[in-house]
């Protein structure tokens, strides 16, 4: 088979994938997205004869457009542009999870800092403000006081890109010092790990300590539902544990939470260009091998679809 790997930086994750693909005898075309030109109906990139292109773009903006172009050309790509579009944007991500009935932290979005301040006051302190596009815990704010809220909102409104004027305000989930990262292929978990830290941000990218985690049936089901909700693919599903009955924020009573208090987990986001080097080290699972197993399956399926078209 011939696989294309769309990238702008070869991280440890991409090296693991490249090694696994080559060891299995596959031809791999590395495609630096920075060098590509995408026309409306064709590209000069050597993509046409790829059985499958794997999007590993580091930059979300490039991932969104590159996958959209490949899809328009009829080139099979994972993850697809629809999945990328949902996962790249926290608002779309939250809406998709909510619509699928997946427990997810209560969230409000506002377009002015005054309205954001009302959301914050209603959630109470602490609560969280996140950028709608971002990763690795960047620009995440845990707000502990009114003074902090006013300062953060003013900075976002004054200094930020226009996306920072979309205020994504979320309840603070008092997780037990860790969250859970699950790598899943079309909703089937490959491996899972906890990420622990004394800091409220527990991302591996922020230095959180990792350890293998065994998923129970409830978590597996949530991963599957969350994956389906965003369109499926090779995904990193992030969960937090909560033993507390969840309830709607005390407010006007108009906002209700249909997921009241049943789940032991809440899913805060799904990532579409998932990193897995930390998971590969924390888990006994050979993660790149499992991912390539799935990629081979996707390539076969894509080939069959072309044959029958």
């Amino acid at each position: 088979m011939k696989f294309g790997l769309l990238y702008s930086r070869i991280r440890r994750d991409e090296k693991l994938l490249l090694s696994e693909l080559r060891e299995r005898g596959h031809e791999v075309a590395k495609l630096d997205v920075r060098e590509q030109r995408f026309g409306l109906n064709a590209t000069d990139a050597g993509l046409a004869d790829c059985d499958l292109v794997v999007d590993r773009c580091l930059a979300t903006s490039r991932s969104l457009y590159a996958t959209r172009f490949l899809s328009a050309y009829g080139v099979p790509v994972v993850n697809g542009p629809e999945t990328a579009a949902v996962c790249a944007d926290k608002v779309k991500n939250s809406l998709a999870l909510e619509a699928a009935g997946v427990p997810t932290p209560a969230t409000e979005v506002t377009f002015t800092k005054e309205a954001a301040m009302r959301s914050i006051e209603e959630f109470g302190y602490p609560c969280v403000v996140k950028p709608v596009v971002g990763s690795w815990g960047r620009l995440m704010a845990k707000i502990d006081s009114e003074n902090a809220a006013e300062a953060i909102l003013e900075h976002k409104a004054t200094l930020g890109h226009y996306e920072h004027k979309v205020f994504y305000v979320q309840e603070y989930v008092d997780k037990p010092g860790r969250d859970i990262r699950v790598l899943a292929c079309d909703g089937e978990p490959v491996a899972a790990m906890t990420r622990s830290s004394d800091h409220w941000l527990t991302n591996a990218a922020k230095g959180g300590a990792t350890a293998a985690f065994d998923l129970d049936d409830e978590a597996r089901e949530l991963v599957k539902t969350a994956s389906d909700a965003v369109g499926g693919g090779l995904l990193g599903v992030d969960l937090m544990e909560t033993d507390e009955a969840r309830s709607a924020p005390e407010s006007s009573g108009e906002r209700s939470d249909p997921r009241d208090g049943e789940s032991r987990y809440t899913v805060h986001e799904v990532n579409h260009t998932v990193e897995f080097k930390a998971l590969n080290e924390a888990s006994e699972v050979d993660v790149p091998a499992a991912v390539v197993d799935w990629l081979e399956l996707k390539a076969e399926t894509a080939g069959e679809a072309v044959m029958t078209a």
């Binding site: 930086r9 991409e14 590395k30 630096d32 979300t60 971002g134 990763s135 990193e275």
Partner: protein, 56 residues
């Protein structure tokens, strides 16, 4: 192991044999992040700065 020159400080940078184009290496002399732009022979350039939309 192979070697190349840091474009920032001119120091020698040791490189693994399985170096990939697009891979980032750190110069142990000056700490600069360098990107491999070729592997035969290895050529290093300054790595792009972190952008706001980078991540997962």
């Amino acid at each position: 192991m192979t070697e190349s020159e840091c474009v920032e400080c001119g120091g020698t940078v040791s490189l693994h044999d399985d170096l990939e184009v697009g891979e980032i290496v750190d110069c142990e002399t000056c700490g600069a992040e360098l990107e491999a732009v070729d592997t035969s022979p290895p050529v290093l350039d300054r790595a792009p700065e972190l952008e706001e939309d980078w991540g997962e």
